[in-house]
Symmetry: C3
Subunit: 640 residues, 3 copies
């Protein structure tokens, strides 16, 4: 892959979906549009290998060559998201099970269990065949493994191959059943095991399963994905040197540990569908805001994913699939606003993307996505997004560093534990996003990183939902805290590594670090609110007692927590126990000011991002806004 | 059957539910009430054949004779909606599967798979035995096959006999797997099949199944019903000449193609439960209207079904089951208003019914329907409906032609395709009903017919949801358009016969016919609205570009479709792309006026219908209304 | 057990959850807090018998001895709510089936089928082993069988052992299939059986199952619980003479007949979680009231359960588990108000509790309930509830009689029948509670008793939902009516013992007793209301025709029931057919006044209860209230 100096544009295309006589014209048109790369062959296993061992490469040879000859770089995909019918009928044991114990059938995609030894063998086989043929093709720039791991709730299978592999994974981890029983607290309801093979997936239990059981099943399933992908990547590394290997991750996907799954890649990519995201994933966004942002998506929800994938491997990323018209899979699928494609593309650039690849070239005339748009309409005429891309190719969006001074800590284990027992409080993404939105509304650039990452470049570290803090992690954070400020959120340091509560209560052995002990936590029904430092508190409240040397930033008013601390500060460590947009915003505003981060309250819908020495100002409002003396049209951006 | 000259009244009765000593008295009372026919033996298999091959006819002999001797005509039913316990336990393979893969158990009704060869043999056997015994009884006027095909989601079984029969049906249709794979677009996600037996029902897939797969499964299941019923009808024709054969269809039932299923009948009947219909089926009716019409049902929802069943075979129909008091199966089951039974009966007459048969004689004192009313109460005293029927028998509702000049085109394949991928837009029945309601609110009589029907008698043809238009169908419609005006709705001509999109986009090869090409379609979340010609647009919007010679009737205002055409007119062909009550109403009003159809805006709740030279004016409001100088009491009617 | 003269306090503890070195300190602290008893070993089977036949008693010996030596009485539990893993893997046939036909898996609790002969044998085995070892221990005061029968929907299993045992239970009950078919009305949809083994559980039917089938399955499952528990109790009686045997029943649990299940016990206990109850069970409580009472629970919902369990065996009861901080299992889990633990404890006393046992000593640091509070926090510091208990130990709450003069009739068979076919009307608990709340808001003490109980001590008997009235029951009630007034509610006497409707309609043979016949019943959708005696009627309305000698207390106004009687009085028997809070309140107020019961309308949130000659006045409002010249602080009580 070349080292580009400005943002690349690309497209996802499916030559097998259209007659052969279209290919040259499409390639020419793609090149003229200013695109650099084309991703192909994503789901094409049944065309590569129509019957077991009978490979048909000629069409794909053609497709790769046509693109290469047009001057386009090719990204190839391993087609393992869609095992063909002949394979499934021969080996139905590949199929995954849903949480209700039902086999998930052939007939769409992702119908496989990551733990299946049979499927892994076939996955390696098709990957090797593909890599042998195209691995050193001069037009090939890189590889995408599979497609959107975890999509449609497929990160976990609750039976079959996964159920069979789980006990051995546990035995390897714990060594003895005594250790496992103690780690999970199985004495609680006589859930103690006396043989490894007694342990199944944590589904279909009479009432909720042990959260420690659930947590280890999540880790196990995540590890199965790691192994599955690593087997493909090893083959690609061997047979296709010099090409990048990536995977296209999903918006807010929570089913596996992305840090571990991405470890074997060159860089991550993700699939950005802003309007579908808002309707489908934005469960914490109110109906009014959903309507307001229906045609652009919510700026912070999108930016959050950008900053998440830039922070995942701490390097630039790609948007592998970028919505460029209406989607088909959300409850409602409005047309994007005029300018939205441009807004999304420049936003991606500003948050660290090196390439934005539109999905898809031509709208599909068949099957599940027939109502999804592309750059071309069904009738091959250029659609609205096409013209926006055409204008974009004239912009020079130079690559460079995103100068974030604020880190937001995120890990999937805290997510799993918190969402398994929300206790009526906000879900993990909601709680985490609320801190992110506060920072972004202050004009602050953020990088989302793992809690165990190096934090030396940051002046402020925000950890909204870090419920899993082991002794080792805390020691590391304690070191980081020497040089920078920290803000923690509710439910911090409640759990041990196996998902139990600390024997000495929340904050465990780290009360002196936080400068407080926890008195009580509670969840509030809609309509039942209290106050903290004058701000409204909804859904969740933790009351603290400050320890010596700690300062109370806000007290609770009203309710049984009256008078208890809602936020405490101990040196440079701030902990906020209340779910309160106002308190979070005010605390971050003051602290960022104190740290010289120049927080700047932005008008609603205005967002500012920096990259490579330039500043992108975007207006996400459907109306004209004047900002710092500048007139910004509806759904528009400017570089300053 | 006699050729009646005025509306017949009838009743559904279950002699096996009451002691033998009641039968003569009931028959006498039924005759005195002015009833002509009694439908019996609907679910009585376990009494006809208590054990396999051991028939018990004496009770049914009695029942038929008692009615005949009282001067009542008898309608007998094949009892196949309720296979008895001994048959199911002997052949559990008769049982159907639900979409979640579970066997649907014995213990209520409709527990059979239409494709089961075993069940078909038993169905023929009991039909033959029944027809042999009663086929030529002088009291017998006709037959009802089974009961309410498709009720309780039984049109489709997702396993067992249906799953086994599906591949052969496909092979017969497509000949080769290549043809099937191409028709379904199976290349899309490597869904291509290499053996017929690889193909299963389209359920339990990881994400949505291929809509073409779903479409063919719907056709297959519909065909199984056609075959199942045809086998019964052939036997009845052979053994019971001169008697009619019908089936009692369900309100808004969507699981099979009624045109094909009714083809072997003499005329159709349907089961009319206005209050239950509103609560249970009226998903598109707002809560306020549901409350307003809670005691009568919505006039247009009922009339729609009348016009649907009159148009089904283009001949008069029966209401085989007419609600005459509160029902038991809706979420709420209020008492009908005073006058409602009379309103429903006269409405049925005006829309082409030759007979209205009340359900049921006496309220059941047992089992699932113990909370359902009848003409008699549980205690055998006449209930409220009884007295309304008594007054009705004095009316002379002369039969005759319904002089509809407007056809509404409807087909089940468009319904299946549209509802499988609604994309956030209105469901098929909602979209179709909105055009129907507009016409009825203009005082216009409508006939609902198949798109391939002869349209010569109509001045205006409205096709609200005709998404399936093949080249052949369009050619036929083009011919029809020579002599009459057409109005098409959103999503017209989007799909090919196998459910793909046309390769050249919406309208396929027929852009010159419609005078437009489609620019974009989108769906709008609640709260996100745009305008078209000054009218509010909700849920769905298609933007058009007019071709030469076409006139734009309305432009979009607001949103990305700003300035695009929302409705175009090309000669006598109008196409409306916006889901807009106001725009539809205005367009139909103007066009009907232009065509001399004398559209007359009616006050809310007032409806006008014509039959045999007379005009029925009905007030469905719970309040008195003055209309054209006439005082109409609440829930009342008058013939003019 | 000693015969206490004032309220005992107790606690639930789980020594196996904490290190051995804590036990003495905990016991000392419990004694100092004023507790009398400690319940232990509830779920400890895997610690008592880690492998089949290998018992480990030493830890439990210690635990019992430590408590005994500290002067605390011990309540032991049979641990059968949690069969251990080794037992389930050896005998998976123990597992129950849910209503969707799925096996409910190991991994939480209550994973057994009450009808399983294998499990019953193991249940007897562990009970015997436990009773042999501790049955005569001087520290042992009593036994709790299992835990919360029916919790998590486990009263009924729909397959496996229960399915296998059902036919024999039916054969024993009915003798012949003819009798069963007649009792159930199986002729209705040819559901007649010709062999016992054809009859399965009433689940997975195509549409609703026969309600008589459902009713007998409920009875059968309830009988399985009776048998299961009786086998344990017989062993405890044999091996542990002089100790009480009880079971801890659940809030509003409906899955079995508590009268039959409690018959073999000494007294009942129940588990009182006021805030969780309001969120989870209070389906009929509006959102506003839920928010208002979020931190105390609804006073009448709690009191209802107290009066239910006092009336169950007509003797004092225990609260075996009393919430003393936030719970973890409701959608929202707020902190209780300051004073709530005290309010709950005194309320329990006033309604007849002899002991209140808090759940639990220390908050669990593991597994499913890690977010549930205890008297101690996770970190072993005293939590908010601890301090309330400390103050309570100084109160002298002398035991004595609850002088209720009003009985409320309740039976589980009416509950099952009514909730199986609600017909849009209120659910059983809602309807029943509305009468209870009316009485409590008039300051009247109530005892909830079985309809066949002796009623001689009562001046007024209220039967809000007695739909099951056999001839024998009515004769008995007729005798009772000689000496006292009766108030019946809607749907009274509609059903026969097998769940059919009476052949002569509602009220069956008892029209002269009620002084009315039923004209019609109907259900009203939200927004559709009528009036009765000037009061609003929602959801349900029955219209009556008074017979000679009866007085109409209220007529309907509006709707088809206009002019019909909504409430009639025949001598001392009043029947109210309308679901109308106002009409019920007014009728009870007048009648109670006439009967000299001194009804006193109380302000909202104020409740008055009497026991042993003293009167408890409670303020459940979160605000200060002046009542009868007395200032009552928020969430407070006083004894007068
Ligand atoms: Zn993709
Ligand atoms: Zn019927
Ligand atoms: Zn318990």
């Amino acid at each position: 892959m070349t080292s580009p100096s400005s943002l690349h544009l690309a497209v996802c295309d499916y030559p097998e979906h259209v007659p052969r006589d279209r290919w040259e014209a499409y390639a020419r048109q793609q090149k003229e549009l200013g695109l650099s790369f084309v991703r192909i062959a994503e789901f094409a296993w049944s065309r590569m290998e129509p019957r077991e061992g009978q490979f048909e490469w000629s069409w794909l040879d053609d497709a790769v060559n046509v693109l290469h000859e047009a001057g386009l770089g090719v990204v190839l995909c391993t087609p393992t998201a869609t095992p063909p019918a002949w394979l499934i009928r021969q080996h139905p044991e590949i199929l995954p099970y849903d949480e209700f114990g039902r086999v998930r059938a052939f007939g769409s995609r992702r119908h496989y269990d990551f733990a299946s030894p049979v499927y892994r063998a076939h996955s390696r086989r098709i990957t090797r065949a593909l890599a042998e043929r195209y691995g050193q093709h001069p037009g090939l720039v890189g590889w995408q493994t599979d497609n959107e791991f975890g999509c449609h709730g497929t990160a976990r299978s609750f039976g079959g191959a996964s159920a069979a592999a789980f006990p051995a994974w546990l035995e390897k981890k714990y060594g003895t059943l005594d250790a496992l029983n103690e780690a999970w607290g199985n004495v609680f309801w006589s859930m103690e095991y006396t043989a490894w093979e007694q342990i199944g997936p944590p589904n279909l239990t009479v009432t909720e399963a042990n959260p420690s059981h659930v947590l280890d099943y999540a880790r196990f399933c995540s590890d199965m994905i790691v192994e599955f992908q690593e087997q493909q990547v090893a083959i690609l590394r061997e047979l296709s040197p010099g090409r990048f290997v990536t995977h296209n991750f999903m918006i807010f996907e929570s089913g596996f540990d992305h840090y571990r799954v991405s470890a074997c890649l060159d860089f991550p990519t993700w699939d950005n569908y802003p309007t579908g995201m808002l309707e489908h994933f934005g469960k914490w966004v109110g109906e009014d805001l959903k309507t307001y942002y229906a045609r652009t998506g919510h700026p912070d929800a999108i930016a959050f994913n950008h900053d998440l994938y830039r922070g995942l491997m701490r390097r630039p990323f790609w948007v592998m699939e970028q919505q460029c018209g209406q989607v088909n899979w959300a409850p409602y699928n409005p047309l994007p606003a005029d300018g939205a494609v441009s807004l999304w593309t420049t936003q991606a650039w500003a948050h660290g993307a090196d390439c934005v690849s539109y999905f898809r070239w031509r709208a599909a005339t068949m099957a599940q996505e027939v109502l999804h748009s592309g750059l071309l309409r069904h009738d091959e005429t250029p659609d609205r997004g096409f013209f926006e891309v055409e204008r974009l190719k004239r912009e020079d969006l130079v690559l460079g560093d995103v100068p974030a001074k604020v880190a937001l800590l995120h890990d999937y284990e805290s997510l799993w534990v918190l969402d398994q027992q929300p206790h009526g409080g906000p879900a993990y993404w909601e709680q985490t996003s609320s801190y992110y939105t506060a920072l972004r509304s202050l004009g602050i650039d953020v990088e989302i990183v793992h809690p165990d990452a190096h934090l030396s470049r940051f002046a402020l570290v925000v950890a909204p939902s870090l419920t899993m803090i082991s002794d080792a992690r805390l020691e590391k954070l304690r070191g980081d805290a020497a040089g920078r400020a920290f803000v923690f959120g509710p439910r911090t340091a409640f759990r041990t590594a196996s998902g139990r509560a600390h024997e000495n209560g929340q904050f465990g052995n780290f009360k002196t670090f936080f400068g407080a002990r926890v008195l009580n936590f509670e969840s509030l029904r809609p309509g039942l609110t209290i106050k903290a430092g004058g701000h409204e508190v909804t859904t969740w409240a933790e009351g603290y007692e400050p320890l010596e040397g700690a300062e109370v930033l806000a007290h609770y008013e009203g309710g049984p927590l009256e008078g208890a601390a809602a936020a405490v500060r101990h040196g440079q460590v701030v902990t906020i126990g209340a779910n309160s947009t106002g308190l979070v915003w005010e605390t971050l505003y003051r602290l960022a000011g104190e740290l010289g981060l120049n927080p700047t309250p932005l008008p609603p819908g205005i967002r500012v991002s920096r990259r490579g020495g330039r500043t992108l100002v975007q207006n996400w409002n459907p109306e004209r806004v004047t900002f710092e003396g500048r007139e910004l049209g509806p759904v528009s951006w400017t570089l300053v």
